[in-house]
Symmetry: C2
Subunit: 283 residues, 2 copies
């Protein structure tokens, strides 16, 4: 595929890089030093893969001389034609989002201490009970319980950047139309090798309903209703499965006023972030 | 760059694909249907980007006819030369690990309901107290508290696939040489826009020490010692920062027997996974 022509271009590009030295690298790869002895680069404009390969080679030579640690390279989706050149230069993937790919190359011979990619997906299940001791339950159109006629709590994923409490309120509203407010995290479970091999944290949140008329989310939810809590707990599916039974028992205890979970409070961290701290207020 | 030659190859490849129909796609892209009306493909052998582009085009035409939802494409790092062709065909990045990139293309016109990438990094801080009411504290060589002479709990990241309790025990052992066993999660905090913009969950774990002679991890830890708990709590840094003070107060309450956190139990899920459920046993 035109390898001779490519080599001519490559050699021309390399000499441009050598002549202009640091300036070309600075202008096109915009390297910035990080707090850990590494460098972060981001391609800011379109270029030919061959030119990019030459530029990257020169940059990496420089970073090796400077004894840098991890070299990060962020490539927007639009620059997908440059991914291959970076891999050929020794970069591996670190993480990706829909619109970019982050690659990284660890230069030292000592073991790599780069921070790992996000390790967990986070989800919520919402325990919402009205004054008649009925719980809000749904049947989903898709998923493992489909067609089993099992009533379950509304559940959903916590989005990146979303508070656990907000996610619970949002999912209840989306799936059932019910307005509710967050009360407590009653319990949570950790599991491994879920979607894409990631670990998974699932928070059982108690919510207090603020409205009672159900309006189904037609696209995902087959049915939703208020179900007497004992009918929910006594479902054979719940009684048969250890984890489901234990969670149901926690909800029953909570109903009887014999359980305290973790409520949430906004707190400022030492680095001036506004975080949410979940702790047991009642003890 | 040899576009005429490429077109000839492309047209040849396309006719191969058309002639052999499903077989070529099955053999080279190994499509499998998923539980959500989608298809998962994984390239299993090296091929030229041009041939891959033709194959992918034919496969996508087929999936559109079949009204499939999300089309997943897993490309090992060694097949980085094929990334660009997939993006040109309409794929976006979904997630990546060091050795592979997962791309996805959502076909329907209705809103995308694909599962999101892992959203959270997870960490632990370990509250370890001996019988003399001294807590195990460290000073780190790197990080934001470096050089501030602040004593803090041992902390660390929970690896993908690692239990929260195991991570706490491991970090205490690594940083200080102390053997300890997990007792409870006392509290946890959620924050956003940490590393790479990911959200972050941090679990304060109480551990019971099983040994007492400190052995420093020289590479990361500047100093470690057993510190009377009131000296820990009364550090100006702890008293000045809301989140640190609240966590210290929780630990004090726990010491006085006036706090119950969440202990852990192994449970089997309805899908036969062995998970860990954290809940308040004492109420």
């Amino acid at each position: 595929m035109g390898s001779e022509a490519d080599e001519v271009v490559l050699s021309a590009e390399l000499s441009v890089v050598e002549e202009n030295g640091a300036e070309a690298i600075m202008a096109l790869l915009r390297p910035k030093e990080d707090m850990f002895g590494g460098v972060v680069m981001e391609v800011g404009e379109a270029m030919e893969p061959v030119a990019f390969a030459a530029l990257l080679k020169a940059a990496m030579r420089r970073f090796r001389q400077q004894e840098k640690n991890g070299i990060w390279l962020k490539l927007a989706l639009t620059f997908s034609s440059l991914v291959d050149a970076a891999v050929k230069e020794g970069f591996k993937y670190h993480h990706a989002e829909p619109d970019y790919l982050m690659l990284v190359c660890w230069l030292p011979s000592r073991p790599c201490t780069l921070p790992a990619n996000a390790s967990h997906r986070v989800g919520i299940g919402a325990f919402v009970m009205n004054n008649q001791r009925e719980v809000l339950v749904v049947q989903e159109k898709l998923g493992p319980l489909r067609g089993l006629n099992v009533w379950k709590f509304p559940t959903g994923a916590v989005d990146e950047g979303e508070d656990i409490a907000s996610a619970a309120v949002r999912e209840v509203k989306e799936e059932t139309g019910i307005n509710a407010e967050f009360v407590e995290v009653l319990a949570f479970r950790q599991g491994h090798k879920y979607f894409f091999g990631k670990s998974d944290l699932f928070f059982i949140c108690m919510l207090k309903p603020l409205s009672f008329d159900i309006k189904l989310q037609e696209s995902e939810i087959e049915a939703a209703k208020w179900l007497p809590i004992m009918e929910f707990v006594n479902q054979p599916f719940v009684q048969k499965h250890e984890q489901d039974k234990l969670i149901a028992d926690i909800c029953l205890k909570k109903m009887e006023g014999q359980y305290s979970g973790l409520s949430s409070i906004r707190v400022k961290s030492s680095t001036d972030r506004i975080n949410t701290l979940f702790f047991n207020e009642r003890t």
